[in-house]
C-alpha cells in the first residue's frame, strides 16, 4: 500500500481561474523525483530547465482534490478522492518538471505522454497509451491494455517494457532491452543492439538492428507469433534457433533441418563471422525469420 509522505514545505504560486481548475508550482530538486498518480484523464509531463514542478489540472468532479506536496527531493502529484467516494469523471494533468528528474507515474485509464524527461522513469498504466522518450537513464514501463511508444535517442538507457494486450513500438532505443507482451505486437528499431530478452505469447516481433555489439546476447521466445529479425549484413554471432510448428527463414544462408524424421520441429544452428555473439530464438507456432539488411 502507498506510504503516506509527511507534508513538508509546499510553495503555492498561481491561482485557480475556476473552482475546479488548479494551477500550482513548487521548487524542486533538479535531479529529484516526481511521483504522479491519476485515475482517469490525460497526463502530460514535459521536462524543462527550471528547478520547479508546475501542474495545471482540470478537476471534473467537485469532490476531487489535487494533492501536491514536496518532501525532500520528492514532489508528489496525486488526484485524491474522499473516502467512500466512487470515481466518475476524468482529470487532465499538465505537468512540467526539471528535465533531469526521475519520474514515477501510475494511472488507471489515462494516457501518459512524456517529453524530454531525462531521469529514470517507472510508468505503469492499466489502459491508455504510454508515450515517452528514452535518453540515458533506464525506463521501466508496464501497461495492461494500452500501447507503449518509446522514442529513443540511441542513448545508454535500458528499457524494460511489458504490455499485456497492447503493442510495443520502440524506435531508436538503447542497446539493452527486456520486452514482454501477451497479445501485443512488438516493433523495435535500434541503432546498436547489445542485449535483448524478449518474450511474447500471441504477438509478433519485428526487430531491426543497424549494428550489433561484439558481446551480443539475444534471447527471444514466442508461443504463437512470428519473430522477425533484421541484422546488419556482417556480424559475429552464433545462432541457435528452434521452432516446433513453424518455418525458419534465414537470409544468411544455412537452412534449417527437421529435429525428427516423423514429427514437427525445425532447428537451425550456424555461426556468422567469429561467432562471439549469441542469438537464441525459440518459437512454438510461428515463423522465425533472420534477415540481413
Amino acid at each position: 500500500m502507498r506510504v503516506v509522505v509527511t507534508v513538508a514545505a509546499a510553495l503555492l504560486l498561481g491561482h485557480a481561474a475556476r473552482a475546479d481548475e488548479v494551477d500550482k508550482s513548487a521548487q524542486a530538486d533538479p535531479r529529484g523525483e516526481v511521483v504522479i498518480s491519476n485515475v482517469a484523464g490525460e497526463v502530460q509531463v514535459t521536462g524543462w530547465d527550471r528547478n520547479e514542478v508546475h501542474v495545471r489540472a482540470d478537476l471534473s468532479d467537485d469532490e476531487q482534490r489535487l494533492e501536491f506536496r514536496t518532501s525532500g527531493a520528492r514532489t508528489t502529484i496525486e488526484v485524491v478522492l474522499p473516502r467512500g467516494h466512487s470515481y466518475r469523471g476524468s482529470t487532465d494533468l499538465v505537468v512540467q518538471v526539471p528535465r533531469n528528474s526521475s519520474l514515477t507515474m501510475t494511472t488507471v485509464s489515462a494516457d501518459q505522454t512524456i517529453k524530454d524527461v531525462r531521469g529514470m522513469q517507472r510508468l505503469q498504466a492499466v489502459s491508455g497509451t504510454i508515450q515517452t522518450e528514452l535518453w540515458n537513464e533506464d525506463i521501466e514501463v508496464k501497461n495492461v491494455s494500452g500501447e507503449v511508444y518509446v522514442r529513443g535517442h540511441s542513448g545508454k538507457g535500458t528499457l524494460r517494457a511489458t504490455s499485456v494486450s497492447g503493442g510495443l513500438r520502440l524506435e531508436d532505443i538503447g542497446s539493452e532491452m527486456e520486452l514482454n507482451t501477451v497479445t501485443g505486437d512488438m516493433t523495435v528499431r535500434v541503432a546498436e543492439l547489445s542485449k535483448a530478452r524478449i518474450r511474447t505469447t500471441n504477438g509478433n516481433l519485428e526487430l531491426r538492428a543497424a549494428k550489433v555489439t561484439d558481446d551480443l546476447r539475444v534471447d527471444a521466445e514466442g508461443i504463437n507469433g512470428d519473430l522477425r529479425f533484421r541484422f546488419p549484413r556482417t556480424l559475429d554471432a552464433e545462432f541457435d534457433i528452434s521452432t516446433f510448428n513453424g518455418d525458419i527463414d534465414n537470409c544468411f544462408g544455412p537452412k534449417p533441418h527437421r529435429t525428427s524424421e516423423y514429427g514437427p520441429g525445425n532447428a537451425l544452428r550456424f555461426k556468422e563471422g567469429n561467432g562471439d555473439g549469441r542469438v537464441r530464438i525459440k518459437a512454438l507456432n510461428g515463423t522465425v525469420e533472420i534477415c540481413n539488411r
Binding site: T183, N224, N245, H257, E261, G263
Partner: protein, 199 residues
Amino acid sequence: MTTGAATHSSALTGERSPLSDTALVAAARKGDMKAFERLYRLHSGKVMGLCLRMTRRRDVAEDCVQQTFIRAWRSLAAFEGRSAFGTWLHRIAVNEVLTHERNHGTRAESDGEAVEDAHAAPLESQREFDAGAVMDVERALATLPPGSRHVVVLQTVYGYSHEEVAEMLGIAVGTCKAQLHRGRRLLRERMGLPEMNDE
C-alpha cells in the same frame, strides 16, 4: 464440397480468389467463428483429400482434418499471409499426419482393406486399361510405402514443388526427388503402365 475431378495435375487450382480468403482470415483472426466456419467449408475438402491419401484411413484422416482446423484457429495470430491460407493449412495438415504416424506407427505397406474402406468416391475408370486386371491409380497410390506416397500425393496431386514438399516433410530436396521417382516407378508397375523415361 466438390468431388469432381481436377483438370490438371500441376499447380493448385485456384477455385476461389485468394482475396475472399484474405477477408475471411482477417475476420477469423478477430474471433469471427462464422468466418472461420466458412474457411472450413472452403478448404476442408482439399485438406481431407490430402490427409486421406497420406494416411489411407478415413477415420484417421478425419481426425487429422479436425486437428488441422483446431490448430489453425489457435495459430491464426501467427498466419502472416505470406503464403496462401490453403497452403498454410496444408502444412499444418502434413504436420498432423506425420505426428500421428510417429505416435501410432505406419501400417503395413499394402493394406488392401484400408484402401477399400478409404475410398467411397467412384473414380473415373481408365478406359485404356482393364480395371479388373490392374489397379486404378487411387488404389495403386495407397499401396506405396509412406515415404514415396507422401511425396507423390503432395507433388503430383496437390501441385507443390520439390522444395515445398521437402520442407513440409522435413526431408532433403534430393531425397524428395528420389522418392518421387521411386513412387512413379512403383505406380507404373502396379497399374500395368509401360515404363517411361521419367524426370
